[in-house]
């Protein structure tokens, strides 16, 4: 069974704030849920399926369904870090396709800027069987991504200036987003001159740390036909877990080598057909490796691919992250997957900022990365299409 054409995204909402010191996590989940439902033209009482990940407080879906007063006949709390929400999109589509749900709600909220859990952070990670064999040597999130970047540079002669082009493109988009955390345009030189965090990654190679959240509402075609707002078709989805493989670690590729082809096959399209991409951008290297692994350029050519404004909207060859992405706009709760889907929905509805709206955008791809890069990670790819008029 394929999910193609069996479910649609009817509502999408990104919390406008980047610092939220005065609200609880449950409250932010509720706020974004109401925002996405209002966008769809639906009510909380219409929801019959609920999806959340490790950012949800307490007992996850149980605590949040209780708080929100949901009556669910389907739930899923798949936790693969920042990629969770793209997996939820696929699972919600499958549930709707199977007739197990008609209106699915997916929420994300986080407040790391205001004292919430730190990057990477749930308490359960400490009890993971691998933790002691990484933490004792002072491994950090940035450090683990830096190890992948360094190896990629070694094998493919990728340069820091090439990685910086990715930040520059994101910043060119962020200048048009009034809610962006970093709205200033930056140059390659500014990225290279920013302080080193973990060689070869500079501070400006890193995403922002923000409070915030987002939500999606997904519906069956029957429900969609009763709504006034344009919906977005879910055409295909793929997901994968890559891991350390008993110590046979290869830092040069991500789980996108598996999630991408699965999504393209289900959607019946190829990378050349895609008009816009939302690529998970916890760090610049995350984008570069993902673009290669999804097949937008050959392995090892990502550094050259991103030169000459390839990623810059609206007229680059492959416009990406037109909201400014996690690198400049928003990375709520250290989890960038939700906002990737939301900006893809804006593009397909023709509701991105006019300066970055891709003309005649019909097909979009959103990709999520969770956990580390190329070692133990979740990868999820969603392909979305503009609703037929």
């Amino acid at each position: 069974m394929s999910i193609r054409g069996k479910a649609l995204i009817a509502g999408a909402y990104e919390h406008p704030a980047r610092v939220i010191p005065d609200r609880t996590l449950a409250e932010i989940h509720a706020e974004v849920a109401l925002g996405a439902l209002a966008d769809a033209g639906l009510a909380m009482s219409d929801v019959d399926a609920y999806f959340c990940a490790g950012d949800a407080p307490g007992f996850g879906g149980l605590s949040m369904a209780d708080y929100l007063g949901l009556r669910c006949r389907h739930t899923d709390s798949t936790e693969t870090g920042g990629s969770s929400y793209l997996i939820h999109v696929g699972h919600a589509a499958a549930a709707i396709a199977a007739g197990h749900a008609h209106v699915a709600l997916i929420t994300l909220a986080g407040n790391p800027r205001s004292g919430g859990p730190p990057p990477g952070g749930s308490g359960r990670v400490a009890s993971a069987p691998e933790s002691e064999f990484e933490n004792l040597w002072g491994s950090t999130v940035a450090g683990s991504y830096a190890l992948a970047a360094r190896r990629h540079m070694h094998e493919f002669a990728t340069t820091s200036a090439q990685l910086a082009e990715i930040k520059v493109a994101a910043s060119l988009h962020a200048q048009h987003n009034p809610n962006a955390f970093l709205p200033q345009v930056v140059t390659v030189e500014e990225v290279l001159e920013s302080p080193m965090v973990a060689d070869p990654l500079h501070r400006l190679d890193c995403c922002v740390i923000t409070d915030g959240g987002g939500a999606l509402v997904m519906v069956s075609p029957e429900v969609a036909s009763s709504l006034e707002r344009p919906c977005v078709n879910v055409l295909g989805q793929g997901e994968a877990i890559k891991h350390t493989a008993g110590g046979r670690i290869d830092l040069t590729y991500t789980g996108a080598v598996w999630s991408g082809p699965a999504a393209f096959e289900e959607a019946g399209v190829t990378p050349a057909d895609i008009d816009y991409v939302s690529i998970y951008d916890s760090f610049t290297i995350t984008v570069l490796q993902t673009l290669e692994d999804l097949g937008f350029c050959p392995k090892g050519q990502g550094g050259r691919f991103v030169l000459d404004g390839t990623l810059v909207a609206p007229h680059g060859r492959l416009p990406f992250n037109t909201d400014g992405g996690g690198l400049c706009n928003n990375h709520p709760g250290n989890r960038g997957g939700m906002t990737k889907v939301i900006e893809a929905v804006r593009q397909l509805r023709g509701e991105a900022h006019p300066e970055v709206q891709v003309p005649d955008c019909e097909l979009a791809l959103a990709h999520g990365t969770g956990g580390s890069l190329a070692t133990r990670m979740g990868s999820a790819t969603v392909i979305l299409g503009r609703e037929a008029p």
């Binding site: 040597w137 002072g138 491994s139 450090g143 190890l147 302080p195 008993g246 046979r248 830092l251």
Partner: protein, 136 residues
């Protein structure tokens, strides 16, 4: 240079105690699958290659080559405030790639492909942490 890196005692589990016991004695060991003969990193009583639960501890040479390395400028937790330090994957001569620190050298001069050899930094009262230094 390694003396300044934090070396708290490892938390043993039933699965990992033999690894840490060997480190305390100055030996690097890993489980090898009795069925498919693969060496397994990180230590566990399960073979992720063939799903066997029969593994035996074997001693390694302690030599390897740097697969990737970074200099972390600002550590976290126990590593906060220790200054720049090198986090690296070392490809052991026997195959597996393990995360570790490279010590005994300016962390900014560590390079992929460099040969390294294990050393054991005292940790806690009786334990030791395997780190690697250039093999000269």
């Amino acid at each position: 240079m390694s003396a300044r890196l934090p070396t708290r005692a490892p938390e043993r589990t039933a699965e990992t105690a033999p690894f840490w016991d060997a480190c305390a004695g100055g030996r690097l060991v890993l489980p090898r699958c009795d069925r498919c003969h693969e060496l397994v990193w990180y230590p566990r009583r399960f073979c992720p290659f063939c799903a066997s639960t029969s593994l035996s501890w074997v001693e390694l040479s302690g030599r390897g080559t740097i697969y990737s390395a970074t200099v972390i400028r600002q550590g976290q937790g126990p590593y906060r405030g220790v200054g720049p330090y090198c986090l690296a994957y070392v490809e052991l001569d026997e195959g597996p790639r393990m995360l570790t620190n490279i010590v005994g050298v300016d962390p900014t001069r560590v390079e992929i492909g460099q040969r390294v050899r294990v050393q054991f930094d005292p940790a806690g009262d009786d334990d030791a942490l395997p780190r690697f230094a250039p093999d000269t």
